[in-house]
């Protein structure tokens, strides 16, 4: 480690793996935990107290569906009392009457609502949940009525990439101030469903045109964040802004992770909050130190002028495709595995004008507890 250890600034809390939706692009691990393995309220409150002490300023409350935790208000109240910024990441279905108001009352700062499709049929197909979109629209209305700012998050793949214009219209009509057009990242369930999710090259080009035009047109009205599909990019994304650099994730059972998908790297072992303090894990966990900084890098990363821009890209993607978690992210133009990425992209056929819902549903392995395919 050549650089001094920085304090963490942001944290992703995956409070639960339970979720009413079954999206095939979910980034959760294939081995989903049941409720009985989740950390209890006291554990989470203690963890958040320690996180605030260490310098965490922003917490993303996610899952699964975080509103399934009955103690969510208590968690928000604790974070708010420490002036930590709270962002609720929700699917927005099945949220009881009065709950959003209670969360706002507890000090919640912001809500991010996911949309699986801009059309009801698409939303139903992708989430495998009947009537999802209408419920989400109602949740958005309640969020705004409670005075909370709203971000709409649209994870994009081949089954909804043709709806980007409608996502933008919908975000405006829901009075969102931010829209994330986020092309799905192939980890967790999304990796299992990669072939079914991969958009065609022409659809991605069209998507980028639409987003660029809308960004210009809606400047000062709607902030559009675009997460490009990294398989189509030249350089990798700086995953987590650098491994264990200033952010971390916590799994439902309190396991502290350098990124939410880190458990796909078999050589790493992780520690649970409670067995050790958060500060000890941040500073000393071998998993956190494995890819911290740049000393771990091999060529072509080691001598690359972008090494402190990309931080080598995604370790989990290197593991999944190059079979080596310390390799250059295979999406990088300098990676020897770049060819295999391009082959996957080229295999994706143009999206048909109208796809039979049944055939698309058959190609999905929906995310469910206990439904992990045997690999």
């Amino acid at each position: 480690m050549s650089d001094p250890l920085l304090p963490p600034i942001a944290m992703l809390a995956e409070l639960t793996h339970r979720c009413p939706l079954q999206c095939p692009y979910c980034s959760n691990p294939l081995e989903l935990m049941k409720a009985n393995r989740e950390m209890d309220t006291a554990g989470w409150l203690d963890l958040f107290e320690q996180a605030a002490d260490m310098g965490v300023l922003q917490v993303h409350l996610s899952g699964g569906e975080p509103t399934l935790r009955r103690d969510l208000e208590e968690i928000v109240r604790k974070l708010s009392s420490r002036a930590v910024y709270t962002n609720l990441i929700t699917a927005g279905v099945g949220i009881a009457e009065g709950r959003i108001e209670a969360l706002a009352e507890a000090g919640l700062d912001h809500v991010q609502l996911s949309l699986q499709g801009a059309r009801p049929e698409t939303a139903d197909l992708v989430s495998n949940y009947k009537g999802a979109l209408a419920k989400k629209v109602e949740t958005a209305r309640r969020v705004r009525a409670a005075g909370l700012p709203l971000t709409v998050n649209a994870p994009v793949h081949r089954h909804n990439i043709g709806e980007v214009e409608q996502f933008i219209e919908l975000a405006l009509s829901l009075d969102a101030e931010r829209l994330e057009i986020a092309n799905v990242q192939y980890s967790g369930w999304a990796l299992v469903n990669r072939a079914a999710l991969m958009p065609s090259y022409s659809a991605v080009e069209r998507e980028i045109e639409i987003v660029e035009e809308a960004r210009e047109r809606l400047k000062g009205v709607l902030n559009i964040d675009f997460v490009p599909p990294d398989y189509f990019a030249t350089y990798p994304k700086p995953c987590m802004g650098g491994w264990a650099r200033d952010a971390f994730a916590v799994a439902p059972d309190g396991t502290v992770l350098p990124c939410h998908a880190a458990q796909t790297i078999p050589s790493l072992t992780f520690e649970r909050f409670g067995d050790k303090s958060l500060a000890d894990i941040w500073a000393d966990s071998p998993a956190f130190n494995a890819f911290r900084g740049t000393d771990w890098m091999q060529e072509p990363c080691r001598s690359c002028e972008r090494r402190e821009i990309d931080w080598g890209g995604c370790r989990c993607q290197a593991m999944a495709i190059a079979g080596d978690a310390a390799a250059t992210d295979p999406v990088c133009v300098k990676s020897p595995f770049r060819e295999s990425i391009l082959a996957l992209v080229q295999d994706a056929q143009p999206e048909p004008e109208s796809e039979k819902t049944g055939s698309a549903a058959e190609s999905f392995k929906y995310r469910r507890i206990g439904a992990a395919p045997v690999t």
Partner: protein, 99 residues
């Protein structure tokens, strides 16, 4: 139906304010002021902070420029363009609202 929304342009007469969900707070650990917003954290420099602190929804941009010129011993014309550009950028990112 949604009212038509348009980008608002910052003028000397504008009065701006940080929305409730964009919070300035001092970070004792990093010994710096942070601006917390949905998904992002900003660390404005000294002048940026002096501008933002004055965005109370009541003080006009004209008055902010005058106050800063006095404080930093500069001519108003010298700084006004930069101050307005700063405010426009923050407004475009929806980090400031017009009151």
């Amino acid at each position: 139906m949604q009212a038509v929304q348009e980008r608002a342009v910052v003028t000397r007469r504008s009065r701006l304010v940080l929305p409730k969900h964009v919070r300035m707070r001092y970070d004792p650990l990093r010994q710096a002021w942070a601006v917390l917003s949905p998904e992002r954290i900003f660390w404005p420099n000294e002048i940026g902070l002096e501008i933002l602190r004055r965005c109370d929804g009541k003080t006009s941009v004209r008055a902010i420029i005058a106050a800063l010129a006095l404080e930093f011993d500069a001519e108003e014309e010298e700084i006004s363009e930069d101050v307005i550009a700063f405010l426009q950028e923050w407004a475009d990112n929806l980090l400031l609202r017009f009151s």
